[in-house]
Symmetry: C2
Subunit: 240 residues, 2 copies
């Protein structure tokens, strides 16, 4: 069965966390909105008057008739099927917990450019975005990255993976978090990144995995841009 | 085995979504920080230098040696054990998806009083909180509640529950969302609530369930206050 991923066309955004898992596993999937009439097909589902399992927002995955919304939920579902979740069932809750911490971090990264009203443009909330970004750089990036660094370093199976002794989807998502932050806040990250050696090493190992390297070099990997979650507005970046 | 719930003492907050499930099921649990030295015990886990499955933040649940962080993850874990999840495995992803939409909504409700910097007081970000609350009332409350109303109404098994033909933890969480919004934004909710009859009826049915009614009348149910997620600041409420 071909998985169908539905997400806004033209951005990495939240969909990218799912794409990385599908690409690493070499799964058979369609990125629906990059097909002709794909965005229309996505909106048809979102506006359906009859679909009982209506998603609130993209991304969502369709596997046959089942519609699964939310990144962490999609990865929870796909993880075991793609060989990207621990065999030990109880560790799946550990993995899901880490993914939900990433979810929160990503939402906060989004709010750096949209702290007041997500229906308005960034340009309509620039002073507030500057204040929120300053707090994000000063407190939240160190808090989240420091946390993941600690968890990685104390993995009883070693710091090659964040849980257990094999790759999980959380490792892939951490790669994307580092990618996104480095794009959005290059100065802040340049200043800080030496504090997270285990996390940076994980990022670099993921980038070198054959399926990931092939994906990153392909046209399927869109460039970051100022429509997505991680946006580079130089005026929001700082070394404090 | 007695479940141990760890959450900040003195507030309903995010912990309340877990408490409602435990209380409805009559589960054997300890609300750890309400015991003597409980907060110290929570902080010991959070500051542990050796715990591999370190939580990023409360709430977290301890079941034996397993530590499970994040409300939606805790409920995913407890749901089947407490009889509050669908028997059909694929519906568990539907339930988890709905719970994650509630998670996002709750985070946005929090940010109405902390739009810029969660390490500062509300009083340090009042004008921004007013602007964010206005957008929340005008756009986000109708978007989220309208969504849940639609999903409830089109449940193929009828609108008594949001998924399937039996109570799930999402029904309990929706009760709490309505409770919290009505506390925080009474004017906005008074004006709008007639638009969500199925959701309001669900709320009222949950309140009448014997175990929930008993819990709500007990000292275990703390009052809402201005330390929690849902806060009533009259200046942030409006009928638009």
């Amino acid at each position: 069965m071909t998985y169908e991923l539905y997400y806004w066309d033209g951005i990495q955004g939240r969909g990218e966390f799912v794409r990385l898992a599908l690409e690493e596993a070499g799964a058979d999937y369609i990125d629906v909105t990059r097909q002709p009439q794909g965005t229309g097909a996505m909106l048809d589902i979102m506006k359906s008057k009859s679909e009982p399992h209506l998603p609130f927002a993209p991304p969502f995955l369709k596997d046959g008739d089942l519609i699964i919304p939310h990144v962490a939920n999609i990865l929870l579902y796909l993880g075991p099927k793609l060989g990207l979740a621990p065999a030990d069932e109880s560790l799946r809750y550990v993995v899901n917990g880490l993914q939900l911490t990433i979810t929160d971090f990503v939402a906060e990264a989004h709010d750096t450019h949209h702290p007041i009203d997500m229906s308005l443009y960034y340009e309509d909330q620039k002073p507030e975005a500057k204040a929120r970004s300053a707090a994000f750089i000063r407190q939240r990036i160190p808090k989240f990255l420091g946390y993941f660094e600690r968890v990685l370093k104390r993995n009883p199976k070693g710091p090659d993976h964040i849980v257990g002794n094999a790759l999980t989807y959380v490792d892939l998502s951490l790669f994307q978090v580092i990618e996104g932050l480095t794009y959005a806040f290059p100065k802040a990250m340049a200043k800080r990144k030496a504090e997270y050696p285990a996390l940076l090493a994980l990022h670099d190992r993921i980038a070198r995995r054959p399926n990931i390297a092939r994906y990153l070099a392909s046209p399927r990997r869109l460039a970051f841009n100022e429509e997505g979650i991680f946006r580079h507005y130089p005026e929001l970046d700082s070394t404090e």
